[in-house]
Subunit: 350 residues, 4 copies
Amino acid sequence: MYFASDNAAGVAPAILDALQRANAGFALGYGQDEATKRLERRFSELFEREVAVFLVSTGTAANALALAHVSPPWGAVICHGEAHIAKDECGAPEFFGGGLKLVGLAGEGCKITASALAQTLERTAWGGPHHVTPAVLSLTQATEAGTVYQPNEIADLAALARSRGIAVHMDGARFANALVRLGLTAAEATWKAGVDVLSFGATKGGAMAAEAVVFFDSARAASMPERRKRGGHLISKHRFLAVQMEAFLTDGLWLTLARHANDMADRLAKRLSAIGLMPVWPVEANLVFSVISCEAHDRLQAAGAQYYAMQSNSLPESVKIASDSLLIRLVTSFSTTEADIDRFVVIAQG
Amino acid sequence: MYFASDNAAGVAPAILDALQRANAGFALGYGQDEATKRLERRFSELFEREVAVFLVSTGTAANALALAHVSPPWGAVICHGEAHIAKDECGAPEFFGGGLKLVGLAGEGCKITASALAQTLERTAWGGPHHVTPAVLSLTQATEAGTVYQPNEIADLAALARSRGIAVHMDGARFANALVRLGLTAAEATWKAGVDVLSFGATKGGAMAAEAVVFFDSARAASMPERRKRGGHLISKHRFLAVQMEAFLTDGLWLTLARHANDMADRLAKRLSAIGLMPVWPVEANLVFSVISCEAHDRLQAAGAQYYAMQSNSLPESVKIASDSLLIRLVTSFSTTEADIDRFVVIAQG
Amino acid sequence: MYFASDNAAGVAPAILDALQRANAGFALGYGQDEATKRLERRFSELFEREVAVFLVSTGTAANALALAHVSPPWGAVICHGEAHIAKDECGAPEFFGGGLKLVGLAGEGCKITASALAQTLERTAWGGPHHVTPAVLSLTQATEAGTVYQPNEIADLAALARSRGIAVHMDGARFANALVRLGLTAAEATWKAGVDVLSFGATKGGAMAAEAVVFFDSARAASMPERRKRGGHLISKHRFLAVQMEAFLTDGLWLTLARHANDMADRLAKRLSAIGLMPVWPVEANLVFSVISCEAHDRLQAAGAQYYAMQSNSLPESVKIASDSLLIRLVTSFSTTEADIDRFVVIAQG
Amino acid sequence: MYFASDNAAGVAPAILDALQRANAGFALGYGQDEATKRLERRFSELFEREVAVFLVSTGTAANALALAHVSPPWGAVICHGEAHIAKDECGAPEFFGGGLKLVGLAGEGCKITASALAQTLERTAWGGPHHVTPAVLSLTQATEAGTVYQPNEIADLAALARSRGIAVHMDGARFANALVRLGLTAAEATWKAGVDVLSFGATKGGAMAAEAVVFFDSARAASMPERRKRGGHLISKHRFLAVQMEAFLTDGLWLTLARHANDMADRLAKRLSAIGLMPVWPVEANLVFSVISCEAHDRLQAAGAQYYAMQSNSLPESVKIASDSLLIRLVTSFSTTEADIDRFVVIAQG
């Protein structure tokens, strides 16, 4: 019963096979190999335009490098207050960004609303030179609460940002999960809605360690090779990074894997609801949040269930957590089984 | 005929097998898994003392994180002027180190001598507060010239450094190659000779992407987890990093692979010498440097040989490079074949 | 009618005189002069213990250098969300601190309460290594709202901080104004209440450009000379910085000047109250905040009054700002006159 | 006998007078005052074109802010190996520049030659992304050896730089001394010769603490206000900075003061030559370097003479420093007296 994180899953077999196949013979390092070049073309096809792609090994690296590249050190990155970049990266964006500042907004379900963004932009003293300048809007898709921005929501937020010269970044560690739910093309969900730079995640989805920073305007990527290198994020045997991503994209594997994870989350939410444990937020990706009794928690822990209890300021007003209850996060993945879910629910029910 | 770099080789089969085996089931991420814990113990055994180990994906990350951790931002890292950290990492040590300064010394064969170090320490204005303070001595073992520091050389340099409170870092991207040549234990070649922190390389030796920062005094590693995380260098599916390193160390694989690479370099040097192309520096690891005619270079290029021409300020006085000649670097690896070497030499001979 | 800022005032005559006197003859630069040495002793007397003092030219420099010196790059500086360091220094603490993170708390009158601090410390995920580590509590005394922390409030906050190894910084740009109001000694208001490092302001109080970072445990100041130098904040003709501060402290000038500024604020508040414009927050230093009608604002502007309209999230619940009103900030200084105040109030009344 | 540094002198009386006069009344802070606006116009007149000017309190701040503004973090600043920015600023350029790299060239008399620059540009591996990219050429005028670049030398160096997209920075801490010697206009000595950004020094020349960063293409100065602010280098009572610089420039005071300092250096060199102590480098500004016997040194020290002994790698080949001799640096200033010089020489002669 592994619901601690989608990175507790292993690697999708097709990706391991790709690593094996890539091991034949020699290849120039640092991205000068054929697999990397193929992959770069593949990304441009996927997004239906010329893009600039930079592979790295972690999502934190992808986010921090992307943000540092589109914000000056005196820039503000506006994000949700519970965004991964704000809470779970130990200050990586600030470090890579030369001391830039994250400005965290409130918003139910870890989503920023256009009105919250507008209010922040209007009511805050910016620039001049005493204050930082709003430089980036960072949206997580799917969010840390397992919710998903609708394309019109992204478009509204992006329009607001762009009207003030603010770049739009999307943290897509679970981009595939969102895409599958939305039924959109990758292009529709990103640059067509106003996204400038995307952290495209594959690790949580089934790769071993592969993420991509995608610039939709490749001019914006100038000097990114140097930034990545001096961040220690240019992998030397780069073909093994490229083929992970290539296998992830081949024959829609990434969407198949994400669909399974989402389906498992749906099943989990449905079963939990059936025993009175309604999901705290809409289940739109592969995360289910629920408030359980400490008693149920003890039973689950005793049975070896893996998941995290947590706190959030983004709860709906209707959700109250009593002193003998806990908010828990359950994450499904491409390898979650129905059996594990059903067993979890049985134990939760007591 | 792939002599461009040891990272043009693939992955040793035993390491790929380990990745495959590690894929069974779930495991907590971020180094909380069993494989990582096993590996940490393995490193302490290898070095015959309690050590603190941090795995990362690139040698640049290992070096930059290690140096930043033992130098304040106003520190000087004293190294050879042609060290990898000084020339080939696009300023990663300066970036991670908050603007620290590399001070490059001259020295034949990319080696620092104790007298050069002593002279620099004595003749330079340090600290006070107008000047940076010498904080780290960084030695590359084996060096960028394919030479190796003898244990007494390291001990002399380290004693000098330590007498002034300077930490000793070893860039061991090719540590195995040096160790095999020296016939020492890992402990003898490092902390017993005065090394405080080691970048232990596996990638060039046969791993996919695995390097370790090893602190011999684990107290010195305090907060290194945070530094690594905010550098984006904490791999989420960490077991796959750990098992690469574990397989590398199992049954002496790392030394077997290094021995092959060194043997191939010896063979290459011997064959080239036989046709009058003496190695520029002693061949003590898996690199051979030679001065060839432009004519020979053209022939080799036409035949598809892969290697780099380069320039160096560390040549022995006796070596002159005529205007119709080139200094070339030939790197062997665990997968270099005798056939490739022999073919290369035949073509070089013309 | 200059109420825009206390830095719109000039220099107290005694301080200008000191500059004139200091101009006789030669003196070694960079703080090696006699005036600096005298001043260092003077500070130790003032604070009744051996302290380490570093003079700089701006309050932003004092704050940013102090915070960077007591927080690692992965540290969190907990402060009020409307603190000067958070809002008005364009990210200087983040820059000097290598990308540290400011965590802004809410609190009426720009004051942090012990319960708000306790809740933040308990409810936030810290360290581990995904999250930043609470490293510094920064209190502004007097606050940006012109309120003052009572010694027991500081002691409670500091005790909480220290129990978790968190250093306590005080931004004392208006320290003299607070001290005069509290009727405490400098020692009582700082280290005796638990403060570890103080930004001691003189510029707003009457100096030309002189601020001091004061470490109450001088061991904590190790390497601060280097940090200041590489920040470009070591003034070469340092005697002219030292004598400003010396004159400021001589014969209680600093307290006399602050008392005048506070008295003027009290008068302003009293007169405004008399016409129905109650101060928004208690007037405890040299700042008065009031809500005025747009009509009054227009009259005052037309008459040449200098002040800023602003917004705040720290208002008492009872204060509402109607759409035809403005929150304004009025700052008095050592050179504010009763005549200006009285004229301001007459015009405000209409 | 104060020859330790030109910053051991006090402040020119006219500049102190200006501070006194500027103290009348209130003025908006942070450069919004009239004096600052006047000064900005004055600089544009001086340089015969629209320039962007930023005042700061130290030369280190001016240099570090200027370099950081025209170099990316992965840039190389090419300078003389003994330049102030490389040796005497404790890594300020690296800190402000986000970890940029200084590349120090050799050259007699602390001057870079066009051929040395050309060779470095050609023979070094740059960019790509493993190496830093040459971004700035920094020339010190007058140099740390008291020598001066001729306009054609600057033009040649600048042409070489510009042909590769490299910006040209001039560290003009002693710009006035050079200008007086060269007999050029400020425009001829800077942008007309190819300089892009100038650190214009006034402190060593007679101000209290006033330096300016001057961008000759004001577009290049975009966001410099934010960079200065977050460096803690925006002085609040800014008028007092502006009037120092204004008085320095008024009626050619700066040139008069520099001429005196240069004349004193000439006199000192001439007198020393007469007793057999030839200057080591041509005396072209206000610095004289000489090799004296330890015996003479002891006599001078006993008599209270203030100066520094030093070491240099930029000596002419003909100059050898015997083991019983010392290289000493003697700096004259606007307040150096003939009497002090004559006394110094008498004692040196013994």
